[in-house]
C-alpha cells in the first residue's frame, strides 16, 4: 500500500453514467493484484472529506484504471476532472481474488454493473479461461464485454429489460450452465462482484451445488486501511461470527464465511 498524488492520464465517459479514469502511478501499478481497490481523494471536494474506494479495473504499464458510475457528489466531482489534474490515491488495498491455477477449476465470473470492472484483472491473469456472466438493468449497464471477449473468455450478458443479451437475471444463465455442466460441477469455481442481492444469490448457488465461491463485497468505507471499522460485515468464525473489515480481510471473502442476516 502506498499513498501518492498521481496524475490523471484520461477520464472519459464510457457509456451513460459510467466513466473510465486512467491514473499514472508506476509504483502502485506494479503492486496491484486482482480484486484490490484504490482509495481516492477527490481533491475538488471541499466539504465532503472522505476518500472514495474504487475497484481497480486494468493495469497497463505504469498506469492503472478504474471504471466508475456517477452515483453521488464524490463521483460527480471526479467525473468533472480532466487529464493532467491530480488526485491523491492510497492503493493497492484489500485482500483480492485467488487467481485460478493452470489445470484447476474452470472459473465462472458473475458480475453486476460496474462489478465487471473488478473482475477484469482476475480474468486476465487466470491461466484458465472461463465464462463471465454479466448482468444489468439495461443495455448501458453491461460494461467491458469487448475487453473480456478479447481475453478469449466466453461472455454471456443478461439485462432485466431484455435490451441486450438474454432477458432476466444474471443468475439464470449461470444456473443453467451449472445444471447442464458436462464437466461435472466440482470443476467450477465461482467469483462474483456486484450488488448485495447478486452476491447473496451467487452465494446460495455455490452452497446448493457445493461449488467453491469468492465474493467481492461492496460496503461503505471511510479510512480504507482497517482503522475506522466502518466497512465491517459479519463473518463466520468457529462457533459464531464476528465483524471483519471489508477493506482489510476483504473485499473478497469465501462465500462459506459470509453471514447475510444477524440478530441486531
Amino acid at each position: 500500500m502506498l499513498e501518492q498524488t498521481v496524475q490523471i492520464v484520461s477520464n472519459e465517459r464510457d457509456t451513460d453514467s459510467y466513466f473510465r479514469l486512467v491514473l499514472r502511478a508506476p509504483q502502485i501499478a506494479s503492486l496491484i493484484q486482482p480484486g484490490q481497490f484504490a482509495h481516492v481523494r477527490v481533491t475538488p471536494l471541499k466539504d465532503a472529506l472522505l476518500r472514495r474506494p474504487f475497484s481497480i479495473f486494468q493495469v497497463e504499464g505504469d498506469s492503472f484504471s478504474i471504471l466508475y458510475k456517477t452515483v453521488g457528489k464524490g463521483t460527480e466531482a471526479l467525473a468533472r476532472m480532466r487529464a493532467s489534474e491530480e488526485v491523491s490515491v492510497i492503493a493497492p488495498l484489500g485482500h483480492g481474488f485467488t487467481v485460478p491455477k493452470s489445470g484447476g477449476e474452470t472459473p465462472l465470473l458473475v458480475a453486476g454493473g460496474y462489478g465487471m470492472a473488478a473482475m477484469f484483472l482476475l480474468a486476465q491473469r487466470s491461466p484458465q479461461k472461463g465464462i463471465v456472466f454479466v448482468g444489468g438493468r439495461k443495455r448501458v449497464d453491461i460494461l467491458c464485454e469487448k475487453e473480456f471477449a478479447a481475453l478469449g473468455w466466453d461472455v454471456r450478458a443478461t439485462t432485466e429489460d431484455g435490451s441486450h443479451g438474454e432477458k432476466g437475471l444474471v443468475t439464470q444463465p449461470l444456473l443453467a450452465e451449472i445444471r447442464n455442466s458436462e464437466f461435472g460441477i466440482r470443476n467450477y469455481k465461482l467469483f462474483a462482484c456486484g450488488p448485495t442481492g447478486l452476491l447473496k444469490a451467487v452465494g446460495k448457488i455455490a452452497e446448493d451445488f457445493n461449488v467453491p465461491c469468492e465474493l467481492s463485497m461492496d460496503e461503505h468505507m471511510c479510512c480504507g486501511v482497517g482503522v475506522c471499522l466502518t466497512c465491517v460485515i459479519p463473518v463466520k468464525t468457529g462457533d459464531g461470527w464476528e465483524y471483519q473489515r471489508t477493506c482489510s480481510e476483504g473485499p473478497v471473502f469465501d462465500s462459506r464465511q459470509t453471514v447475510w442476516e444477524v440478530a441486531k
Binding site: 502506498l2 472529506l49 491523491s88 460485515i233 465483524y243
Partner: protein
C-alpha cells in the same frame, strides 16, 4: 527550538498525537507514516472483554465532517496485549491507551491490567463515547460518577491519567475541575458531539444506531471554546482535539489553552496530517521566533 511537552509524567517529543478510534492500534498506519515522528500514538478504546460493536451502517459523511457509531468494537485487554502490544512496545514514542468499562470497577480493573503490563505511556479514560448503551458518556456527564471513575483509576495505577471529556454538558468547567481534583493528570477535550442524519428517500437514519457522534472540521470552533473554558478552570494540561486538519487548526487549540493536540477524523482522509501538523507548528515557531512550543499554550488575547 523546543517542541516537547509533558502530560503528567509523560514526555512527548512534540505536542501532536492522534485521537483514539481514528488510528486503530498504530500498526495499520505504520505503512503510510513514520509513527516514531509523532508525540505519541493513542489507540482505540479497550475494555476488559472483546466487544463486537454496533450494527452497520456505522458511519455517514456529512458537511465538513462525519457521524460515527462504531460501538467501540475491540479485542479486549488480553486480545490487545496479544495482538497489538508487541508492535506498539517497540515504538520509540509512547503509547496512550484509551480505556473504558461499564462500571467503575471495570475501569479500575482495566487500568490495573495496563499498569501491570509495563511500558505504557499513559491511560486515557474514555468517559465520553456517545455510542454505547452502558458506560462511556454516562460517566462523563455526571459529576459524581466522573469523580468516582477517575478516583478509582487513580488508585489502580501510577501511569499518567488523561480524562477524555464529553462535550455534551452545559458547562465543561465543573467537570474539568472534578476530573482534576479526583487525580487526573490531564484532560483530553473533546469527544464527538451527539448527532443524527436522515436519508430522505428511505426516511431512515443514516446510522444503524440512529444517532452517532459528529467529528471533523465541523466541530472545531465548538471544541476550541471548550478547551478555552476548561483551561481557565484547571491547572493540568489539556490535549485539544476536534476537526484538526492542519497546523493552523492545531495552533488555535494551543492558543486556546491546550498543551498538546490530537488529529482525529483527518487521519481517515489524509494519513499524513499528523506529520504535516508537526512540520507546520515548527514553521510557525520559526516565523514567530518562538523558542518553546509551551509559550503558545493559552496565548490567545481575549482582553478578558
Amino acid at each position: 527550538m523546543n517542541l516537547s511537552v509533558k502530560i503528567g509524567t509523560l514526555t512527548m517529543q512534540n505536542p501532536v498525537t492522534v485521537a483514539s478510534g481514528t488510528f486503530g492500534y498504530g500498526e495499520e498506519y505504520s505503512r503510510l507514516i513514520d509513527l516514531n515522528q509523532l508525540g505519541a500514538v493513542t489507540v482505540k478504546g479497550i475494555r476488559l472483554n472483546p466487544v463486537r460493536g454496533n450494527s452497520t451502517p456505522r458511519t455517514a459523511e456529512v458537511a465538513s465532517g462525519m457521524l460515527n457509531a462504531i460501538g467501540l468494537q475491540g479485542p479486549g485487554v488480553d486480545g490487545f496485549i496479544k495482538k497489538y502490544w508487541p508492535f506498539l512496545k517497540e515504538l520509540k514514542v509512547p503509547t496512550i491507551i484509551n480505556i473504558w468499562g461499564t462500571t467503575v470497577d471495570e475501569y479500575a480493573e482495566v487500568a490495573r491490567r495496563f499498569d501491570a503490563l509495563g511500558g505504557v505511556g499513559a491511560l486515557e479514560l474514555n468517559v465520553s463515547c456517545p455510542n454505547i448503551k452502558e458506560g462511556g458518556a454516562q460517566f462523563g456527564t455526571d459529576l459524581k460518577l466522573l469523580a468516582q471513575v477517575v478516583a478509582a483509576c487513580r488508585k489502580a495505577t501510577t501511569l499518567p491519567l488523561i480524562t477524555k471529556m464529553s462535550p455534551n454538558v452545559v458547562s465543561i468547567a465543573p467537570f474539568a475541575k472534578v476530573a482534576e481534583d479526583a487525580g487526573s493528570d490531564a484532560l483530553a477535550i473533546t469527544n464527538s458531539y451527539p448527532a443524527m442524519a436522515i436519508d430522505i428517500e428511505t426516511r431512515k437514519p443514516k446510522l444503524a444506531n440512529v444517532t452517532g457522534g459528529l467529528t471533523g472540521p465541523a466541530i472545531k470552533p465548538i471544541a476550541i471554546k471548550l478547551v478555552w473554558e476548561a483551561a481557565k478552570a484547571v491547572k493540568i494540561p489539556i490535549i485539544g482535539m476536534g476537526g484538526i486538519q492542519n497546523a493552523d487548526d492545531a495552533i488555535e487549540f494551543l492558543m486556546a489553552g491546550a498543551t498538546a493536540v490530537a488529529v482525529g477524523t483527518a487521519n481517515f482522509f489524509e494519513p499524513q496530517t499528523p506529520l504535516q501538523v508537526i512540520a507546520g507548528i515548527r514553521d510557525f515557531m520559526e516565523r514567530g521566533k518562538i523558542s518553546d512550543v509551551r509559550e503558545i499554550t493559552g496565548s490567545v488575547q481575549t482582553g478578558k
